[in-house]
Symmetry: C2
Subunit: 139 residues, 2 copies
């Protein structure tokens, strides 16, 4: 709370950029870019919509490899993005409006992404991604 | 990383206790106890399984009131709980094995709970809860 407001704004912007890099890597289905976004550690954790939680970098990157291999194309329209920074940790809540598949199937997911500040070189790393399906209102 | 290991252990235990208090309040369907667990702020955020994300304490507590009113009983068996502490922020990933309803319907959810350290008086407050349905393997 005693932090410089300008520095806090910079932090929030940096986190928003890191979050954008995550979705850019997903859309591009670029495994190297996805690896660059993450903290590649044992505490890296990922919950894909409908999946059980995966723990540790080996499981996490394995899931992205499988998803990218089985996704011909995917596009995200992100709405309701809110960034919160608390010291060296930050979290982003965002609604993922998803277009994918040959039939241009549209769906929606609620995501919570947790980032930690890098100890050197600046920037933020994604340490937890949790996406969950949102039931359609006409379902 | 330079923190006293004993203090880090204490932090993780405190966070685990705060997480347990959240599920105890849920099982008891006790709105006052649930309010005590949370940081009652505009950044309080809650995603119930299948729901869109709710932002702000008024929306969050309103959702618990509605859920408690419509839940005759509910019981959680928690598995795979992992606590991570990063400065004044912590997050817990846990699998919620849920018994509820008159037919003892069993289901499973993946949860991510984010806590922040209280500025005074010690302890931790829940600031984000995100629960998502896990598809059953025989589904």
């Amino acid at each position: 709370m005693s932090r410089d407001p300008d520095a806090a704004d910079d932090d929030a912007l940096d986190v928003a950029n890191a979050n954008a890099a995550f979705y850019a890597a997903f859309e591009a289905r670029d495994l190297d870019a996805m690896a660059e976004v993450w903290e590649r550690s044992t505490r890296a954790t990922c919950t894909h919509p409908g999946w059980p939680t995966l723990h540790g970098w080996v499981q996490v990157i394995g899931s992205w490899e499988a998803i990218f291999r089985n996704t011909p194309w995917i596009q995200f329209v992100l709405t309701d993005e809110i960034v919160e920074v608390e010291g060296d940790t930050a979290w982003v809540t965002v609604t993922e409006n998803i277009l994918q598949g040959e039939s241009v199937h549209a769906s929606s997911a609620a995501a919570l992404n947790v980032f930690v500040r890098r100890t050197a070189g600046g920037g933020w790393r994604l340490v937890v991604h949790h996406g969950s399906p949102v039931a359609s209102s006409d379902g």
